[in-house]
């Protein structure tokens, strides 16, 4: 290896080494296993988020009461905040370093002077400890514990009547959708009409799938609702007519894609991708 090449490689390593991690780079890392015991099914209640709410309430309670000059309650919230902060710092050993007991005690002491400016100034140090953990862990926690997993959902395929994994089912929908569009594109209207029955059946099955998590009709109608019914009625009308109108056909295909498929994918896919990596 020439001296010049060695020099170039060394320079490249030095350059990479000094490059700062850009603030926009984000690592979504699976939360530590010890956190699981604070979420269902291991815990009866989502204790971790409840703990976050407790700290947030006491933190907010200090400023609300300082503004209202209710100093008795300022002191109560200050003491409670220290208590809950210390308790939280012991819950997940892997995250112990995020907590700074001195910072919370300093903030509580400042709050107890009942000087809002002092409390505001001291809150910065404490706020940083919260912010650092949230920046690094909040997305992961929400993805892991607050979103039900798509990959655990089983769907009964209405055609085969077999229970399949959610991702496989999505593949089947996509295939049956192509059965409609490809046949129509080739002028095979009879085949397209038969494929539409299969596609519609699979698409409508998604209402049952949505209801596995969503409790209200309105949510599932956002994905598989009036627009989907209109599109399928339009497609069926074209394919059952003597001379289907391509313009109307493709318009309805577009409507179905933009309202049903896209709505769901925009909301759910990002999280589903993250979960999939962890579950593999």
């Amino acid at each position: 290896m020439s001296f010049l090449r060695i020099l170039l490689i060394a320079a490249a390593f030095i350059f990479i080494g000094i490059l700062p991690v850009h603030a926009k780079d984000m690592i979504v890392k699976e939360p530590p296993k010890s956190l699981s015991k604070y979420y269902p099914p291991e815990s009866k209640q989502p204790k971790w988020i409840q703990q976050m709410h407790k700290m947030s309430t006491h933190f907010g309670g200090i400023f609300v009461n300082l503004k209202e000059k209710d100093y008795e309650n300022v002191d109560v919230h200050a003491d409670k905040l220290v208590e809950e902060y210390k308790k939280t710092s012991e819950m997940v050993p892997e995250w112990e370093d995020y907590f700074d007991i001195k910072a919370v005690e300093a903030f509580a002491a400042a709050a107890k002077t009942h000087d809002i400016a002092k409390a505001g100034k001291e809150s910065g140090g404490l706020g940083k400890t919260c912010g650092k953990c949230h920046a690094e862990q909040e997305i992961s926690v929400w993805a892991k514990f607050h979103w039900p997993s798509f990959h655990k959902i089983k769907v009964t395929d209405p055609i085969s009547e077999k229970e399949v994994e959610f991702d496989d089912y999505m593949g089947s929908i996509s295939t049956s959708f192509k059965g409609v569009t490809v046949n129509f594109g080739e002028g095979q209207y009879g085949r397209a009409a038969k494929a539409l029955k299969v596609f519609k059946s699979r698409y409508m099955e998604l209402k049952s799938t949505c209801s596995k998590c969503h409790a209200t009709q309105d949510v599932k109608r956002f994905y598989v609702g009036q627009d989907a019914d209109t599109s399928f009625a339009g497609l069926s009308q074209e394919l059952n007519s003597e001379k289907p109108n391509p313009e109307k056909f493709w318009k309805n295909i577009g409507l179905l894609g933009k309202t049903g498929c896209k709505h769901c994918h925009l909301v759910h896919r990002t999280n589903s991708f993250i979960q999939k990596v962890w579950e593999q």
Partner: protein, 325 residues
Amino acid sequence: MRRSSQIFDLIIGVGLIGVSGFAMLYFLVNERFEWIPEQVLELARDPEILKRPPAKKCSECHKIIYEAWKDSRHSISWTSETFIEASENRSKEKCLPCHIPQSVQGEKPSPRMDLRDEGIYCVSCHFIDNKMQGPYDLLAPPHPTFRNPDYVRSNFCGSCHQKTFKEWKATNVEDTCQDCHMPRKKSRLTQKAGFNLLHKKRWVGDHRFLHGEIKEKDVVMEPGWEENFFIISLKNQTIPHFVPTADNGDPRLYLYIKFFNEAGEEVDNAKEIIAPQQETALPYNKKMRYRYRLFDKIIKAEVELKYQPAWSKEKSTLRTETVLR
């Protein structure tokens, strides 16, 4: 002779006192228990019952009701395999209020923290506002019981079965949920030896919470032909809510149609999934029409209607019909 007559008189006397004493007690217990001083009743109270005990404790007196409940879906609302799977190992928040209700009283309950394996049990429905409640005011020495008319009204069941309740309400049919799913018969509320004789028979609902069977008269099927289409209609004629119905479960009717040509070959088929979650369930007293385009020369259709409850993957055939052109 005189002595034996005295013994006979004594037996008759004691017997008469016993019978009249029992009659008086029976009258007091069943008709005028408010005459019994509270201090006397306190002696018979069992404070454990007012501490939300497991169902087994209630079975010490209410054996028949307990056995019926054990057979019901309510008793396994937390432990059934179907529920555990569908709720992602009981982690989905939306499932908890109705599968482990703290207290059912006309609106969506809160989930409880204790005795979760009991599912929807005695205490969930009968221990409301720290009082034992039911359809009757009762003496029930171990625990005072207060009448609440909601126990024979549909809105009580509607606390959890909200969608079905709304469907029923829209039909304006008078029969309540309890009329069909908890048919009443005359029975004693307690089976505890001795106490059972003191309580008169009352109308007691079936705590198996019967799941109605769908019979031929319930869903009327009308098939027919129209140029190059096969038409079939289904009408839920007798059940005053959608069929099937569920708030979150996924019970289904499957309608299968096979089409045959002159050679007797099956050349096409169709299927309908009639399910509440797909908003395709059969409304009360309204004809639902399905229409299929025929691409071949069809001379016969075979129709089959199957039912699959929410808690099973098995389907049962409700009826089959051959329709000739």
